[in-house]
Symmetry: C2
Subunit: 290 residues, 2 copies
């Protein structure tokens, strides 16, 4: 076993997609990984899948970890089990993987001395102990949101972890992170979900005999599929992210409404020049983001 300069075994709390993938990559790098989970069955499967070196439902499994990654869903992260907090080694660096950072800092900053808020931006539709996969983080952003009093050595340790699994390290303020993910991750879920609802509603309004309803379902193709993918995704995750980042998401929605109203006004006025110019601008904008 090596430690890759991480100072000792790495603890992973929660063995779903993010925790499990991290465990797999660290194990393949030769790092000892201690997994903590709620259910004995998950601990067994995590061991069988090689996600962790040791797995337990007892927080004492984290005892000699130098670094602990809280890979919990946002709701459990923001309302942590006191036994977990109690069991975290006092000198260990603690980080999380939550997709909203200001509430995580508000909750954890005062609870543990060496806390680093971070967010590896990698995901698939999968969840649970079977979801973890190798190389999930390779080439993906891993954003940290240090505060003025964040321990620089702790921050450097989390960066070492992120870079060990191939992620691209970024640092910014927690409010900037939360506003950015509101725009590019949480807003798209609502925009996309509303399209599904509008198609349902428009199809039902169209024809009492159900002709339009059947037609809409028969004709939807790749454009509709792509635009509705995130809106038809994991509802628990979507609702949780939006609620935990409520203020920024509501602000993002106001920008969105304004943008959509501009397109609608051009269409309502049959202003082909304005509509074309706006869509040309959109075509040129997209590569800036991707």
């Amino acid at each position: 076993m090596t430690t890759l300069g991480l100072g000792g075994p790495v603890g992973v709390v929660g063995l779903g997609l993010i925790g499990g993938s991290l465990g797999l990559d660290l194990q393949s790098l030769g790092v000892e990984v201690r997994g903590l989970t709620h259910r004995p069955r998950t601990a067994e499967r995590a061991l069988a899948r090689g996600l962790v070196t040791r797995a337990s439902t007892d927080p004492a499994v984290l005892a000699d970890c130098a670094l602990v990654v809280l890979a919990l869903p946002l709701d459990r992260l923001l309302d942590p089990d006191p036994a977990l907090v109690e069991a975290l080694p006092p000198r260990a660096v603690i980080t999380d993987v939550g997709s909203v950072k200001a509430p995580v800092l508000a909750c954890w900053h005062r609870r543990v001395p060496r806390f680093v808020a971070s967010h590896p931006m990698a995901g698939t539709a999968a969840a649970g102990v079977e979801a973890g996969q190798r190389e999930l983080f390779r080439g993906r952003p891993w954003v940290a949101t240090p505060q003025a009093d964040t321990d620089p050595a702790a921050l450097a340790l989390v960066r070492r972890l992120a870079e060990a699994v191939g992620a691209h390290w970024l640092e910014c303020s927690a409010p900037a992170h939360d506003r950015a993910v509101a725009l590019i991750s949480h807003l798209p879920v609502l925009v996309s979900a509303a399209l599904l609802l509008a198609a349902e509603r428009g199809a039902a309004a169209g024809a009492p005999d159900g002709e339009l309803s059947a037609l809409v379902r028969a004709l939807a193709s790749s454009g509709f599929a792509d635009t509705t993918r995130v809106g038809g995704g994991n509802p628990e995750l979507g609702a949780l992210m939006a609620r935990c980042n409520r203020r920024a998401v509501i602000e993002a929605l106001s920008h969105y409404r304004h943008a959509l109203a501009g397109l609608e006004a051009a269409l309502a006025a049959d202003d082909g020049v304005a509509l074309l110019a706006t869509l040309e601008h959109c075509r040129s904008l997209r590569p800036e983001f991707l």
Copy 2:
């Protein structure tokens, strides 16, 4: 050469993605294809690519066709060249491939006796004489919108063409078609374009120092990519489709605004139960369409 029961050579007017792909498939089935295009260079390339058997810029090339497919962009289809209309063989069946049907019928129904309005729903981002590809229509819907006085033999001939290239034949009224495509094809373009505009606007509003703007661009990932794909696509096509189907698109936008407002209200009230229930409904809705 065979005719597949199509009664003679097939004329294709416009050799872009749809016209070129149709020509390729018909040629590979052994059907003689006559291509009409504006530019000599396009005619040359169409022949070189094997899209057509003969190609010309002279409408007389259509003289002995039994079936002519108008594969023109909507604007040219709705304002046709008088020389083209003049050159269409009087007994030939004429069909089109336009993505909006009521205006096409309004324009063509009185111009030619055996007109069948139709819409093969196949597309890629590609356009022009290099875009045509084999098997573009296989498994895709090909919708016809016959009227009470549409010649049944003409309708049957277009159906034979569609099924010869592997498309799935559907018939409905023109208004139902136009409302359906407004919901599942034209609305997604505007919804998706507005997301790009909102991300730009929100990022610029966030931080005068450009931190948020750079961050938003760095963090956008697959969810943002999928949701913005059609909004960042061909602006001419998007603007033309929306304008030609203006009334139905404006109606679709009103359903959309209502749906988005419902999601926003749940979020603003921090009503987690309602938000989760709505997103769960969206998850169950999506497979109905896809």
